[in-house]
Symmetry: C2
C-alpha cells in the first residue's frame, strides 16, 4: 500500500487540512483524475482518509485525514526529513566509490 | 536504493554489531550468497556499511554499519514500529470496508 507515490503525495497534501477533489488535483501536478480517485478510494478503504459529502447542489465532496492518516503523515514527514538530510551523503559516498573504481581501472591499464 | 527488502534486512541485522558474511547469511534466511554480496556492495558503495578485511589465513572479512548506516537503521526501526502499531488498524479498516461493500451488494439483490 505504501508503495504508491501517489498515496504518499495525497497524504502529504491533506496535511494542510480538508480538501476538495479539484483542489487536490491542482496540488498534485501530474496526477490523472482516475489515479486520484483510485488513490483516495484506497486511502478511504484503509481508514487513512475520511470522505464527507455535503448535500448541496452541485454536491460538494471533501477529503480529510483520519487520526490514523495524520499519524502516517507524521511518519512520512520523518522519512522525508531523513532523506533530505542524508541522501546527499549517500550520493557523495556513491560518487566517491565510483571515482575510486575508475582510478583503479586506470591504474590497471 | 531503499526499495530492496534485503537492504532493509541487512541494515537491521547489522544493528547488532559487526558481522562476518556467513553470520549475516545465517541471520537472513532465504538470501542467496549472490544477493547478499550484491546488497553489501551497494551498502558499502553508498557509505552505509564499512567492510574490514583482516589479514589472517584464511582472510576474515567483517561488515559494520557506518554512522550514516546506523542513522538509517534508526529510521527503519521507526518505520517498523509504526507498521507494527498501525498496520492492524489499516487491515481492520480494510476488512470493515469490504464487509460494508458486501452488505451493499447483498442489499441490492
Amino acid at each position: 500500500m505504501l508503495a504508491s507515490k501517489w498515496v504518499y503525495l495525497v497524504v502529504c497534501a491533506l496535511r494542510r487540512g480538508r480538501m476538495r477533489n479539484g483542489e487536490l488535483a491542482r496540488r498534485l501536478e501530474g496526477i490523472t483524475p482516475k489515479m486520484l480517485t483510485q488513490t483516495l478510494r484506497i486511502l478511504e478503504r484503509d481508514g487513512l482518509v475520511r470522505r464527507e459529502i455535503f448535500p448541496v447542489i452541485p454536491p460538494r465532496v471533501e477529503y480529510e485525514l483520519t487520526e490514523l492518516g495524520q499519524n502516517l503523515a507524521g511518519l512520512l514527514t520523518q522519512i522525508r526529513s531523513w532523506s533530505e538530510e542524508h541522501v546527499p551523503d549517500i550520493k557523495q559516498a556513491r560518487a566517491r566509490a565510483e571515482a575510486n573504481q575508475e582510478a583503479e581501472l586506470q591504474a590497471q591499464v
